[in-house]
């Protein structure tokens, strides 16, 4: 499914818009990065697409189309069918997505049943999602506090898979994770596009992460997209000075000395010992 954003304006009261997007398109099966520093309007864009900007007191004007269908101004009852079912979202803190007093699986099951699935269907679909995220279904019996941040984020993605969402809004989903876990989650997101054909809007302040994952990138500053295009091209030859600033801020590893193995010899492709 494609998501077409813009022209879109999000504002608080009479103050100038915090988001002013002329045009941002995520084509079917495409991963698009939305990059910018804190306060640039990335997350407000997510909320606007989800029809949740109102909940923080913002006003949304303009147009957001999902496969050509206008979402701005859609009655809440219809929006509820879109949110979760068609467009799923994961956030920086996966713990916020789960009620700490319920088992992870029961939160997931409830979300799936709200979208019309029976309990059995919900369990089956969740099992598939968990497998795709390389997680043991046993984790569903645990409470959120008993899972690591990386595991919990992957359960949230498994739920999006179970909902058969076609667009995933990923708002800084790896910023709170260790780099090792981040690498794993990025790998899984890549696979998700391959197997599910999911379109992903990936929001991040870190252009290195965007470079690793995204087909195209849009760079946002003060609510305005200052540059967008093919990720490889924008990052290799940015035209906007703000993009260059963001690139310069990415911490760089020293170049590998000659002799650093490209990979460990004999690396097994599958996790040792199967699913966790």
């Amino acid at each position: 499914m494609s998501l077409d954003i813009g022209p879109l304006r999000v504002r608080f009261g009479d103050r100038p818009g915090v988001v002013n997007i002329e045009n941002l398109t995520i084509a079917d099966g495409e991963i698009v990065g939305l990059a910018g520093e804190s306060g640039s309007g990335k997350s407000m864009t997510t909320l606007a697409v989800l029809g949740l900007a109102r909940t923080v007191g913002a006003t949304v004007e303009g147009s957001i189309r999902l496969n050509g269908r206008e979402l701005v101004g859609l009655p809440e009852r219809d929006m509820r069918q879109v949110r979760g079912r068609r467009i799923a979202a994961i956030f920086q803190s996966p713990a916020m997505a789960f009620n700490p007093v319920f088992r992870v699986g029961s939160v997931a099951s409830r979300a799936l049943r709200l979208h019309g699935l029976t309990g059995t269907e919900a369990a089956d679909r969740m099992a598939i999602g968990m497998r795709q995220m390389l997680l043991s279904a046993d984790l569903l019996r645990r409470y959120p506090g008993q899972l690591s941040g990386g595991q919990l984020q992957r359960v949230a993605i498994a739920l999006a898979i179970a909902l058969r969402a076609q667009v995933l809004l990923a708002d800084e989903p790896t910023s709170a994770l260790d780099v090792t876990v981040q690498a794993e989650v990025l790998d899984l997101l890549r696979g998700l596009r391959a197997t599910e054909g999911m379109s992903v809007l990936f929001i991040s302040h870190d252009l290195a992460v965007v470079a690793e994952l995204c087909d195209r990138v849009a760079v946002m500053r003060a609510g305005v997209i200052v540059e967008q295009g093919e990720a490889a091209q924008v990052l290799a030859a940015p035209t906007d000075p703000y993009t260059s600033d963001l690139l310069a801020a990415v911490p760089a590893l020293p170049p590998a000395l000659p002799g650093l193995p490209p990979a460990l010899p004999g690396l097994p492709p599958a996790p040792p010992g199967g699913l966790q």
């Binding site: 520093e37 780099v179 252009l207 470079a211 310069a248 590893l253 490209p262 990979a263 690396l267």
Partner: protein
């Protein structure tokens, strides 16, 4: 090596059955000097930082600061240590009182240590805010009126107010976006020169250590699995875990992007560490020996030859290249 500023030997910290730190040793010379502690969540890096500052009582081992046993300090000597060793936490919100104005927060340690009367402390606070790149006029603001990066600067100014010789920087930038992070790292680099600071930089991201830390220790499950000069360790890691951590750092340049070593699974349960090498359940190179025999931390070769040629580095007073892996030579040679 002359007397180190900080020497941690065989440190052990337990939380009930959890062995958070298990036989860890470190040396930090007097500043300007940076030592990075790198590892995933649960590797014991934060616990080590806190034990060094005597914020947690260890179950075993020793922490020496200027040659004195930190755990035995009392009275004036303890107060002097509390002043000489400061910490900057990951989350500046947790370390700043939301109801205290910035200026007062920075002046507070000066008053607590009776280093300055109130009026002078206020003046010093304004100077310190300038030193960390903040407008002294911000002194009248409350923490919530500042950005995350600004709040972290305030936390640094507050730590510097008592003129410490040792700073523990516990993931000082992981709550910040990359631009704010770059500015904080630049600040640390400037301060280390100007104030001749020695610091432990605790992080999970190898990307931020190379400019700021001469040496790096890689931690896994409360143990040092590899340590040595940062450039060499990052350029030619000898432990498979270091290789994986290094390869996990996202790179903009596709040429620099090496085949990624994805570590599956989580670090093991620290209440019940696996037998043999603690890394073997996740290690792509694990062999039978790794499952039964604990690898000791040992010296490995310098930039060229295999083990045994590291003597030159030792005599030059540099830290040794140490690794705890049965197959380190193969990792280095591959």
């Amino acid at each position: 090596m002359s007397l180190p500023l900080l020497e941690v030997s065989d440190l052990a910290v337990r939380f009930g059955p959890v062995r958070a730190v298990d036989g860890l040793s470190l040396r930090l010379p007097a500043g300007p000097f940076g030592l990075a502690l790198v590892g995933e969540s649960g590797s014991g890096k934060t616990t080590t930082g806190r034990a060094v500052l005597r914020l947690i009582r260890p179950a075993g081992g020793a922490v020496r600061f200027d040659g004195a046993d930190v755990m035995r300090l009392r009275g004036g000597a303890l107060r002097a240590f509390r002043r000489a060793a400061q910490i900057v936490f990951q989350d500046p919100d947790g370390s700043l009182d939301p109801r205290m104005r910035i200026g007062n927060a920075v002046a507070e340690p000066l008053l607590a240590h009776r280093l300055a009367p109130r009026a002078l402390a206020r003046e010093r606070a304004a100077e310190l805010l300038g030193e960390v790149g903040l407008e002294p006029a911000l002194a009248g603001r409350y923490p919530h009126q500042l950005s995350g990066g600004q709040r972290q600067r305030v936390a640094i100014a507050r730590a510097l107010s008592v003129e410490p010789r040792l700073l523990v920087l516990d993931e000082p930038t992981s709550a910040l976006d990359v631009r704010a992070q770059a500015r904080i790292l630049e600040l640390v680099g400037r301060l280390r020169k100007e104030r001749r600071l020695a610091y432990l930089l605790i992080t999970h991201n190898f990307g931020i250590v190379s400019e700021l830390c001469e040496q790096t220790a890689v931690l896994y499950l409360g143990r040092v699995v590899e340590s040595g000069p940062t450039g060499e360790l990052l350029g030619r890691p000898a432990h498979p875990y270091t290789v994986a951590l290094r390869s996990a750092v996202p790179e903009i340049d596709p040429q620099q992007r090496r085949s990624r070593v994805i570590l599956h699974g989580e670090p093991p349960d620290a209440t019940n560490p696996p037998p043999g090498c603690v890394f073997h359940p996740r290690c792509p190179l694990a062999i039978e020996r790794c499952r039964v025999e604990v690898p000791v931390l040992r010296q490995v070769g310098g930039p060229v030859g295999p083990a045994g040629s590291a003597g030159a580095a030792e005599s030059a007073g540099l830290a040794d290249r140490l690794v705890a892996c049965h197959r380190a030579e193969e990792v280095l040679a591959s």
